[in-house]
Symmetry: C2
Subunit: 443 residues, 2 copies
């Protein structure tokens, strides 16, 4: 079976539906109200919940469903799975209370029972799926508490539901947008490898962000990750790197984390991107969502703040990017465009006397000499206006190479950031984060 | 002379005052309108600017001033300094066009001329001073472009004006507040060492953040930095770490950056904190502005998101903090307070079923066992409310040990963050940044 019923179901059953959003089953039902297919809530006490016809038991559902969601205590899950025999293609078991608290035998029996009946499982102990392109949202977090990001090309694959919610939050703040978000929990059936295989062929998915605590079958994982990374950018955040964090990961999903050093060396060997922490992950995600194709390491830094330029150069050096000086001829040419107190090196320092157009002059004149461009625009001087966004967007189209910006928040910085990111130019609040965003684009 | 006239002048002259904020001299004059002492604008063409009586030349100013600001082209600065002979105790030369563009001889002559006349100099090529406790603001950046932070205990000492503006921006965003902010530029007279000496005895200053590209007299710097760091936290961000960034730093302030490795080892040897980049610097600044006294390395992590807890533990390990497991007895005691599906280890995982009070229960019960506390509150579940801020603030007062929080932005996260930080509990958007904030408090 493909994962179609998981991501693009036509019908959904919800076991554990509730009448109020103060219960998780009510939150999920509320979110399913926006779903365009058929929804079958199940609750032994109600004939109707939130205006939707409700069924007393799984066996009362009149039609087979593509996808079933189970949100009942762990000790009831096995019977529910049995009841879905012949009635569901795929089940998301959101309930916790399995291997992560020592109930490995129960988990194993659920797994076997589903496999015997040809039912695919996501979970248990998981958040499920958010697919805005299909209006599908199984997350048990209220929308007023976790605003859902708009549609986009970033797909999140997270073992942890909590980290999935943080990733969704960060994507929403960054404004990039989501293709799919999956919290897969204990992964007793559908695992990261199978998800990667599906996503490799998923047209909506442009970038895959994967939070992993542990991997079941290492070989299978590596093959799938490599195949996916050949098709589109994959960035992995591996948690549970040391002994005590591995213990925390075990009590969280019931899978052993394994040696981080081995994991890391395998990722490196196969050219799969790894982010060292949450913030680096999200900074890389933003640039990969918007741009691609840093074909070499030669970076030009254009700034209106000397010190910010120095910090950017420091980070370029740490990241292995090359801040190559201008050739003598180019330097003379550049100087002819600018007042004599501009510092024409790399970085080019446009000083507090900058005007918007100076950035474009520098980038266009030097477009052939560099592989990528970092624009630092401190909008605390009057020469920088909101018009800079349009100028940079036009310039980037002409230059057709990666461009990232560092613009501090506050003042007109927030407005400029929104305008630039609408044009798919990623903006970062510090020079160092901007450099790391650029580095993530290196092929 | 002490630096009193620089930080707490009673009278100020402004050479280069202008009638409009489209000129830097107009921005500064506008900012000086809020100053409570006497202001003497100087401009050969006006008798009045922005409603303030204006003088045609320096020699026309009727009284000696504590502080003079010069915002005129470099080639006029020497004469202005001469004209202030006997008329000013201290001059801030904001103009650029000195050693940073090769005009070392001119710079040297300005320096000698001032020294002979007993006038102290800040700059040239500098931003000057912002001292909200004295309503003093010499920065040539308009307030609507760079909102000035409120009063607080953080003092910024930056060679670069651009980085100073970014630091001010970040302090404003973080909401901690400023004691003093100084951009000292080429540092031909007053340098970081003398500023450190002054700040060591400054009552308003609780934390000193220092951005340095180059140091003139290394020995003097180390002695002053060490003396300051003995009195209050000092965090240094050293820029210009590699050859190409040292070149950028040289063309920026005209001082040689020197070997970073030597600088770094000296800082380490004398126990002076160093931040590796801008974001680490600001994260450390926030926790140091609000709290102090992490007396040991034993950290308790209390979370409502399992994966976020794992990421926090990973970062603790990287930072050399110890996530010590609960003793068997304490573990049993804790379990008696909580539902059986809470994971009672370290981290304590309160799951999506958390209520506010659970955090307090964990922290208070275990207050003797740990040196510092990290609370991760993902406010995407209904059990977390705005009431958490008051509960944690009370709890911290009782426990009287450092507490930092990780709360993602968005939803009620922003509100909770504001409430907590008003109570001097620093909040960070990711688990890793929160851990680094806690680490900065280690004595």
């Amino acid at each position: 079976m493909s994962l179609g019923p998981l991501f693009r179901p036509k019908s959904i059953a919800l076991v554990g539906a509730a009448h109020t959003e103060s219960k998780l089953g009510g939150v999920v039902l509320k979110n399913l109200l926006a779903f365009r297919g058929k929804v079958y809530p199940v609750n032994p006490k109600y004939d109707e919940l939130m205006g939707v016809r409700t069924y007393r038991g799984v066996k009362d559902i009149p039609d087979p469903v593509d996808l079933a969601l189970i949100l009942r205590p762990a000790n009831e899950v096995l019977q529910d799975v049995k009841d879905f025999s012949g009635r569901a293609q795929c089940i998301i078991i959101m309930s916790s209370g399995f291997a992560e608290i020592g109930e490995a035998a129960l988990q194993e029996e659920v797994k076997r029972t589903a496999a015997e009946r040809g039912i695919r499982l996501l979970g248990p102990n998981c958040m499920g799926v958010y697919n805005p392109h299909h209006r599908l949202d199984t997350l048990f977090l209220p929308r007023e508490r976790l605003p859902r990001p708009k549609k986009g090309n970033v797909t999140l694959v997270s073992q942890s539901g909590a980290v999935l919610s943080c990733l969704l939050n960060a994507v929403d703040e960054a404004g990039t947008g989501i293709a799919k978000a999956i919290g897969y929990g204990n992964a007793i059936d559908i695992d990261e490898a199978e998800l990667f295989d599906y996503l490799a062929g998923d047209r909506q998915t442009g970038v895959v962000v994967s939070y992993i605590e542990s991997v079941g079958d290492g070989r299978k994982f590596v093959i799938a990750a490599r195949r996916l990374a050949d098709r589109k950018p994959l960035i992995v955040l591996k948690a549970g790197k040391g002994t005590s964090s591995q213990a925390a990961a075990y009590s969280h999903t019931g899978r052993l984390a394994g040696s981080y050093e081995v994991f890391r060396s395998i990722l490196r060997q196969f050219g799969i991107r790894e982010a060292e922490d949450f913030d680096v992950l999200m900074d890389a995600t933003k640039s990969l969502a918007y741009q691609k194709g840093l074909r070499g390491k030669r970076v030009l830094v254009v700034t209106n703040g000397g010190g910010s330029g120095v910090l950017a150069v420091d980070e370029c050096l740490r990241q292995g990017l090359e801040v190559v000086p201008l050739s003598g001829e180019k330097k003379e040419r550049m100087k002819s465009h600018f007042p004599n107190f501009f510092s024409v090196n790399n970085p080019i320092d446009l000083t507090a006397q900058v005007i918007d157009q100076d950035y474009v002059t520098a980038m266009c004149e030097l477009s052939d000499e560099y592989d990528g461009f970092l624009v630092i625009a401190l909008p605390n001087v009057l020469g920088i206006t909101e018009g800079l966004a349009g100028l940079l967007a036009d310039c980037r189209r002409r230059v057709n190479k990666p461009l990232v910006c560092n613009i501090p928040p506050g003042g007109i910085g927030n407005k400029l950031t929104r305008l630039l990111e609408r044009q798919k130019i990623p903006v970062y609040p510090s020079p160092e984060r901007a450099v790391r965003g650029l580095k993530a684009l290196l092929e």
